[in-house]
Amino acid sequence: MADEFSANQEQIIGALVYSIIFLVLVTLGLILFFYYSRKKIIEKEVEKVNIKLDHQKKILQTTIKVQEKERNRIAQDLHDAISSKLNVVSLTTNVLLDDASMNTDQKEALNHILDITTRTLESARKIAHELMPPILDKFGLKVALEELFDEFTSNTPIKINHHIESLGNLDKSNELHVFRIAQELINNALRHGKADQLQMELKKELDGFELVFKDNGVGFDMNHYNKKSGIGLQNIKSRVAILNGQLFVESSKNKGSIFTINCHSYGY
């Protein structure tokens, strides 16, 4: 009898041990289930955000491409439709001025017309030039960049040290992106950085190029840069992305900044 009781007791305790182990495993399973579900949900969220960011980037890049195209068209139209017609006006006025039968009042009026036409022509040329530097189209990136530097240095105490190698294997639209990047970098350094010494190097590499830009301006906080950058920098980033390149920025307060752009196998 006592033996039977003891055996019974052993059985109950054995069952208890197994049920405890079972319970522990079940709760452990529950915890793991929630843990992995959570991980999966977070992964999905990150994926979603990344897709959104990618989309935004693409929109930005397309905007820049369209913008350039539109600028090109406006510059072309300005040249074809306005400048050429104004040239005709100016020529005709000159012919009229040579006419001896004109009295002084009329001549004065014609001179006034000629004056305004010349100024308008000059403005149109300037606008077209800013919209699409013709020199880039005709003489290539190296000459266009050198002209750009001259423009900035001619009337100011700013110094730009530059070493530009010509890149033979860059197509026209990509050349324009590099040119705009350079323009934006210089503009930023002067306007926000208050720099007066700039350095730009454009080196040709085996299957691409490297652009290094340094300034001695006030610099900026890198943490701030990563969180929120202005339209100018955003533009540079997008253009670098269009070129299939990488942008590296080094900067700290009052120590100037260094921008390095590496482009390998752009456009392919």
């Binding site: 305790i13 041990v17 959570r38």
Partner: protein
């Protein structure tokens, strides 16, 4: 076997003491976190109860009435702990549980005061089940947002659920002779308690130590 039993018993003592000390030290840095306050209080009280029950057992042999303070204290403090972690609608459930449990236990003890000297099965069940529900709710909450105290939560879920099973059979076990098999069950309880305390320690290590170093 006896050696292992003693090892886990004293490891439990040491861990509960260390945990209480660490959470008390970090108390100043985490003053604003209400959940932290309740959890520290919970640790402090469970530390005191553990040592008193040990001493009482040495002197009077029967220390079961200390267990009632332990179960009710644990229920109230962990309820408040989860209360401070939960969202608005979930908080209402906790308040509801606290009121119901206190009411039912109060009535039970008025009617049957003799239950005070045994394991009160109803008490164990009614104070542990809500805690398991809270722990699962907290896990569920952690799916959609970044939640703290997940390691402690895992410990609560594992330890409370399995120890409840042991305590529910406590009356049966305490009537039996202290055979090897019965000892094994208490050993499992001690091991799980050590695991629970280790998880609490890991939680402190991962979440609250960094605040201290800042």
């Amino acid at each position: 076997m006896n050696l292992i039993n003693h090892f886990f018993l004293y490891t439990g003592f040491i861990l509960v003491f260390i945990n209480t000390l660490l959470y008390l030290i970090g108390y100043k840095q985490n003053k604003k976190a209400v959940a932290y306050k309740y959890f520290t209080l919970y640790l402090l009280i469970s530390c005191i109860i553990l040592f008193t029950s040990y001493i009482v057992a040495r002197i009077y042999k029967n220390n079961l009435y200390v267990s009632h303070i332990y179960f009710i204290g644990q229920f109230l403090l962990l309820s408040l702990f989860y209360h401070s972690l939960f969202k608005k609608t979930q908080k209402k459930y906790i308040i509801f549980f606290i009121i119901i449990v206190c009411l039912m236990l109060g009535i039970q003890y008025i009617l049957r005061p003799d239950l005070f000297f045994r394991f009160n099965l109803f008490e164990i069940f009614i104070t542990s089940l809500p805690l398991i529900i809270y722990a699962i709710m907290h896990l569920y909450n952690s799916l959609s947002q970044n939640n703290d105290y997940l390691i402690i939560n895992a410990g609560v879920l594992i330890y409370i659920s399995s120890s409840t099973l042991i305590f529910i059979l406590g009356n049966y076990l305490s009537d039996l002779d202290m055979t090897e098999a019965v000892r094994n069950i208490y050993l499992i309880n001690r091991i799980l308690y050590v695991v629970y305390l280790t998880l609490i320690l890991i939680q402190w290590q991962t979440s609250f130590r960094r605040i201290k170093n800042r």
